[in-house]
C-alpha cells in the first residue's frame, strides 16, 4: 500500500474528523451505544485492545499481536449493546460514569478511501460512591472509511499504557 499522507490540521477534512471524534465521544459518554454502533461503525469493524506485558527496553513495547483484552467484531459489539439493554447487565447497572478525553488528534489518508486517526485517549471512570476514578490511558489508532458519504469506524486498536488493568470489568467502549 502507498504510505499514509498526513492530513493538515488546517484542512476541512481534519475538521470533519475532529467533529466525528467529538460526536462519538459524546454518544459513548451518554451511553448511547446502539446509536454509536448503528450510525458510526462499519459492519466490518475490527476492534481490538491487545494485551501488554512489561518487557525490557530492548524488546519494544510489550504489546501482543495475538492476545487481547478485547477482540470485537460488529456482531460481538452488538451483543454488548443488546446485553446492556436486557435489563440484567448487573456489571453495568448502575452504569459506570465514563468520560472520554480525546487529545493529540492526528489524521492521515490511506488508500481505499480510508483515513488513519491517532489520538491520545484518557478515560475517567467512576461507579457508585467512588471518589477515586479508574483512569485508563493509551493511544487510540482508528481507521475510518467513507461509506456512501459517511465516515464509519472500520478499525480500532487501543494501545493501553497499562499491563494490569485495575477495573472490575471492561464493559466500556474506548
Amino acid at each position: 500500500m502507498t504510505p499514509p499522507s498526513e492530513v493538515p490540521v488546517a484542512s476541512d477534512l481534519y475538521a470533519r474528523i475532529v467533529a466525528w471524534v467529538n460526536r462519538e465521544a459524546e454518544l459513548l459518554d451518554a451511553g448511547k451505544e446502539r446509536e454509536w454502533l448503528e450510525t458510526m461503525v462499519s459492519k466490518e469493524i475490527v476492534y481490538q485492545v491487545p494485551l501488554r506485558q512489561t518487557v525490557e527496553r530492548a524488546h519494544g513495547t510489550g504489546f501482543s499481536d495475538t492476545t487481547f483484552h478485547l477482540n470485537e467484531s460488529y456482531g460481538s459489539l452488538m451483543t454488548r449493546v443488546v446485553r446492556n439493554e436486557s435489563g440484567f447487565a448487573w456489571a453495568e447497572d448502575p452504569p459506570s460514569r465514563v468520560r472520554h478525553f480525546v487529545t493529540n488528534i492526528r489524521v492521515s489518508e490511506l488508500e481505499g478511501n480510508r483515513l488513519a486517526i491517532k489520538s491520545n485517549l484518557l478515560i475517567f471512570r467512576t461507579r457508585r460512591d467512588q471518589t477515586q476514578p479508574q483512569l485508563l490511558s493509551g493511544e487510540r489508532q482508528d481507521v475510518l472509511r467513507n461509506e456512501d458519504g459517511e465516515f464509519r469506524l472500520v478499525g480500532r486498536t487501543i494501545l493501553l499504557d497499562l499491563t494490569v488493568i485495575e477495573t472490575h470489568n471492561l464493559a466500556i467502549i474506548f
Binding site: T54, E56, T67, N71, E72, V164, N169, A171
Partner: protein, 462 residues
C-alpha cells in the same frame, strides 16, 4: 477489619474467634461474613494457606525453550519460573541475595543470566550465583553455594501444569490432589495431545476477596439464572438455566471441589464433550484416561472446579457471536491472586487441545475472551457481586449484627439434591446441582489449614 482487631486489644482473638465460628457454623452451613474482609484473617491466609499449599504458577507450554521465563506469583510475591539450561523447570524467588533487589525485569522473556541492577551479582537459570564485578576483590572466598537465589520447597509438573509450594513439609502434589486428580486427568488428559496455553495471561484487579472466586468455581451453578441472565438474552450459552442445573456436584477430596453440567440421560440432545467441534471430539480417547472418565466427558456440557486454594478451571460451550457461530468448548484457567483482604489480581489463561486447527483455536480464544474475561459477558457480571460481598466482609455492622453467610443449599432436607449412586469417580457426589456442599468442602479444608500448626497437615482424604 483490623478494627475488630483493635477493638478489644487482643489482636489474635479476632481471627481465632472467627475461625471458631467457622468450625462451629460449617455443619449448619453458616460462615461469618468477616472472613471475606478481615485484614488479620487475610494476613494469616498469606502464611497458612498460600505459603503452604500447592499453587499454580504456569504451564510448560509458556516456557518451551531453555532460558524462557515467566514471572509469576505465590501469594503476593514474585517468582521466576524458568526453563533451566538442562530443560528442567525452576521457580526462583525474585530477590537478589545481596540486598534483596528484585532482578527479573520483565513479565516474560528468555535469558541465560539474571543480573542484579544494583551491584551486578549474576545468577544462572538454576539460581546459582555466578559472581559479580571484580568479584575476587569484593567477595573473594565467600561461598557462592550459600548465596544462590532462594527456591520453592517443592515443584511438580502435572499435564504440563506447574505447581509449587513453599512448604517442605507439604504432602506430594498427588497426595494433595487426592480424588481431584481423577477429574483433572479427565480434562487435561482427554486426548493423547493434551492442552496448551493460547497467548499470554490477562491480568486485572478486582476489589474483592479471593475466596469469592474460589468458591464460585467450586460449583456455584445456581447464580447463572440471575447474575448471568443476560447471557441467554444474547444467546451466549446453549443450555437453559433449569436444564443446566442438572448434573453432579463433587467434593473430590478435602478442599477441592467441582461440578458437571450433565443431561439426565445419555441420549439427551444437548451438547456433548463440552460442545467441542466434532472432529476434535473424535480425538478424545482413552489413551490417558479410563472408559468411565471418557464416558463422563462425553456427557458433559460444563466442567467447573477449583483446586484449593485458588486454581480454578472452567470448561464450557461458549460463543462470542451467537448469531454467526455455534458455541465451542472453551477451557480456561483462573488464579485468584490475593492482593489484599478486598483485592484480587485475577489471572486468566485460555487453553486449547494441541491438535485443534488454528481456526478452531481462534474460535476458542475469541469465544473465551467474549465470555470469560474482564470484558466477557459472563465474567463482567461475576466480579460485581464479589465486590459487593467483600464490602460486607469489611463492615462493622456485619460484625456487630453477627451476620453469618448462608451455605445451606443441599443440606439434609434443604432442596432436592441427593447423594448420587454408582458414580464411577472418587469423592462425595450429589445430583442435581442444587447444593453448596462443594463450597462447604472448600471451607472445611480452609478451616483446617488455618488452624494447622506449622509442619502439620490435615488429612488429604475423606
Amino acid at each position: 477489619m483490623t478494627g475488630a482487631n483493635s477493638s478489644n486489644g487482643k489482636s489474635h482473638s479476632v481471627s481465632e474467634r472467627l475461625l471458631d465460628e467457622l468450625r462451629e457454623g460449617l455443619p449448619d452451613g453458616l460462615i461469618p461474613a468477616a472472613l471475606f474482609g478481615n485484614e488479620e484473617i487475610f494476613n494469616l491466609e498469606l502464611r497458612k494457606i498460600f505459603a503452604r499449599c500447592w499453587v499454580f504458577l504456569a504451564h510448560e507450554s509458556e516456557i518451551p525453550n531453555s532460558g524462557d521465563y515467566v514471572r509469576r506469583k505465590i501469594g503476593q510475591d514474585n517468582f521466576i519460573v524458568v526453563r533451566d539450561e538442562d530443560g528442567g523447570v525452576q521457580a526462583l524467588f525474585d530477590a537478589c541475595r545481596h540486598r534483596g533487589v528484585q532482578i527479573c525485569r520483565a513479565d516474560s522473556g528468555n535469558t541465560d543470566i539474571f543480573r542484579c541492577p544494583y551491584h551486578g551479582w549474576a545468577y544462572d537459570t538454576k539460581g546459582n550465583l555466578l559472581g559479580g564485578p571484580l568479584w575476587k576483590n569484593a567477595f573473594g572466598t565467600m561461598s557462592k553455594e550459600q548465596n544462590g537465589l532462594l527456591k520453592v520447597a517443592q515443584l511438580t509438573s502435572f499435564h504440563g501444569l506447574i505447581f509449587a509450594t513453599l512448604d517442605p513439609t507439604a504432602p506430594s502434589f498427588e497426595e494433595y490432589l487426592g480424588g481431584m486428580k481423577w477429574y483433572l486427568d479427565l480434562v487435561f488428559g482427554l486426548n493423547r495431545h493434551g492442552v496448551e496455553i493460547i497467548g499470554a495471561p490477562q491480568r486485572f484487579v478486582v476489589d474483592a476477596n479471593w475466596k469469592s472466586g474460589a468458591e464460585n468455581f467450586s460449583g456455584d451453578d445456581y447464580h447463572l439464572g440471575t447474575l448471568h441472565r443476560s447471557a441467554w438474552a444474547i444467546g451466549a450459552f446453549p443450555v437453559p438455566f433449569a436444564d443446566n442445573m442438572m448434573g453432579y456436584h463433587i467434593q473430590a477430596s478435602p478442599g477441592h471441589s467441582l461440578s458437571f453440567s450433565m443431561a439426565p440421560s445419555e441420549d439427551d440432545p444437548g451438547p456433548k464433550f463440552f460442545a467441542y467441534p466434532q472432529d476434535v471430539a473424535r480425538s478424545f480417547d482413552t489413551s490417558r484416561i479410563s472408559d468411565e472418565q471418557l464416558r463422563i466427558a462425553s456427557r458433559s456440557r460444563v466442567f467447573v472446579g477449583n483446586v484449593f486454594p485458588n486454581f480454578s478451571i472452567l470448561l464450557a460451550p461458549m460463543t462470542d457471536d451467537g448469531a454467526h457461530f455455534p458455541p465451542t468448548g472453551v477451557l480456561t484457567i483462573r488464579t485468584w491472586q490475593p492482593m489484599g483482604a478486598g483485592r484480587i489480581e485475577a489471572w486468566n489463561w485460555f487453553c486449547a487441545y494441541r491438535n485443534m486447527t488454528p481456526d478452531q483455536k481462534d474460535r476458542v480464544y475469541r469465544s473465551g475472551l467474549a465470555s470469560f474475561s474482564m470484558g466477557g459477558v459472563f465474567e463482567m457480571d461475576d466480579t460485581e457481586p464479589w465486590m459487593l460481598a467483600s464490602r460486607t466482609g469489611r463492615s462493622v455492622a456485619a460484625e456487630v449484627l453477627d451476620l453469618k453467610l448462608n451455605y445451606q443449599m443441599g443440606l439434609p432436607g434443604v432442596g432436592i439434591a441427593k447423594r448420587a449412586e454408582n458414580w464411577p469417580g472418587p469423592g462425595i457426589v450429589y445430583w442435581p446441582r442444587y447444593e453448596e456442599g462443594v463450597q462447604r468442602n472448600m471451607f472445611r479444608f480452609y478451616c483446617d489449614m488455618m488452624r494447622a500448626e506449622p509442619g502439620t497437615w490435615p488429612k488429604a482424604s475423606f
